[in-house]
Amino acid sequence: MNINCVICSEFFNASSEVFATKCGHVFHYPCLLSWLERSKTCPQCRHKTTENSIHRIFFNMQNTDGNTDMGTILNKIDNLEYQNRMLDKDVKDYKEKVSTLKKQNGLLRQEIKTVESSLKAYETTIISLKEQISYFKSKSRESEKLTAEIVKLKNTIKNMENAQIAINGTRDQVNEMLRNEADVESLAIYGAMLKKALIEAEAKKKDAEHSLKKSQSEASRYKKEVHNLEASYGQTKRELEHLRTSTDKEKQYLKSKISELNEQLTAKHTNNSNTSLKRIAQESPVNYNKTPKLSVPESTKLKENVPDKPEIESPYLQIKSSVGYGKFLNAKYISSKDVPKEGFQLTSLKTSAKHDLLKSNKQDVCYNGLGGSSKEDIFPSPKTSQPSFGIKKKSLTKSKFKRLAPPTNTGGKCADISDMFVSLSGQETDLSAKQLIVEIIKTIRNSLVNSGNSVWN
């Protein structure tokens, strides 16, 4: 039945309560009732209608089966259409949603891409930063190691300083340090260091003792030498004394001789005096010096030419030696062993010659007193006396120099002495014999004093 209620627009079916107004319009009872509560009119024609004026109407349905009823079918169709529409709407909504979601998805994908790229960038940065961190960690570890090393070194420095104090410092300082230091290890180190230092000190002590002994022995040796030198000095002094006495004796003798000669001169006052004076003059070594000086080259020649002359040989040799003084000295420096022997020999010769000379002088005096004398007798005596002094000096000086004095000093002195002899012999021919002797003695003394000084120096 294709009839519906205009209020609710539902189709009527067999089960529905259908009411009709006086004007003949049909409605569902609840629909009409709810409207009549508001307005007492017919919804369709506005005719006056009340609850009492309406009445129910009944339809005779041909087919009571609800399913085949037109209204129900139409209602169902409506419902289904509605549902279909709703579903369509849903589909549309979902489609929209899908499209929006797709858009969103695309956007999100893009975002993901960007995020991934940024993530990659961050990862790379993270990796680099991690590397940096590891690098810095290693660095820090190194630095920590270094700091530890520094601390260690500082400790060692401190220990060393303390050890230095322990070695060099005073006892109070060391005590203070030990009180402050509580570490056993460092104390052990100090102990070890001190022990080491002690060992070193002992070694040094031993060395020092050794050197002390050495120096002591040297000192004793020097003392011995000093003793020896003193002894030699005494000897030389004694010799000097001896020489002095001998020279004094000679002096006295010569004085006596001079006085004798004076007496003779006063006694005679004759022409003989000239001859005697001449003789004296000839006897004096001063005159003689002239002759050998001139005859030195001759003598050398003679020595070569005439070697075999038994009596004259010794004086010539002496002359030769006196003349070749420098050479002789030089030779002596080189070979010191031979020299003393010669010196001794010479001295012995000298002494012997001296005695001879004295004797001869005496004899000469006697001869002179008689007035007859040969030149040959006079000739050797002064010659022997002069060189003998020189040789004697030489020997003395040599012996001394040989022991202690440096060669340069001795050489210089010897040279001086020899020069003096030369000068004396060369220049002072006019001096009297007395003066000459005095001069010689002075020189000898001086030389001795010098030699003594040099020894002590």
Partner: protein, 148 residues
Amino acid sequence: MAGLSPSERRLQKELMSLVKEPPPGVSVDPDIAERNLLQGAAGTLYEGERFQLQFKFSNKYPFDSPEVTFVGQNIPIHPHVYSNGHICLSILTDDWSPALSVQSVCLSIMSMLSSCKEKQRPPDNAFYVKTCNKNPKKTKWWYHDDSV
């Protein structure tokens, strides 16, 4: 349509009929809102113009009349239409009947617009617009023109 109230069921049916078989000059955009109806007016003075109507239904519909106003940029200049969109029409208030529907209301408004002879606002437009309630149903209308 189970689970829906009678008013909803009816509105659903009305919408479906409007969408399926709209009256001439009336179209419904179901996507915008089920309560919003578009009315393309084809008539004498308002030919070529398009107006938009807004229907607001209470849950007592169809026993209670819907709240119908013109909305949008183009509000028709009509002696019974105020510039705020309110419409002076008796069936929307006092003369409402549950037998009336959205379709019938639309047809009534279209006929009202078509019967207009002069485009002008109501004489008390300014005053009413200032003082009126938002809801046109709360206005006590004095229907004087029976020609519509």
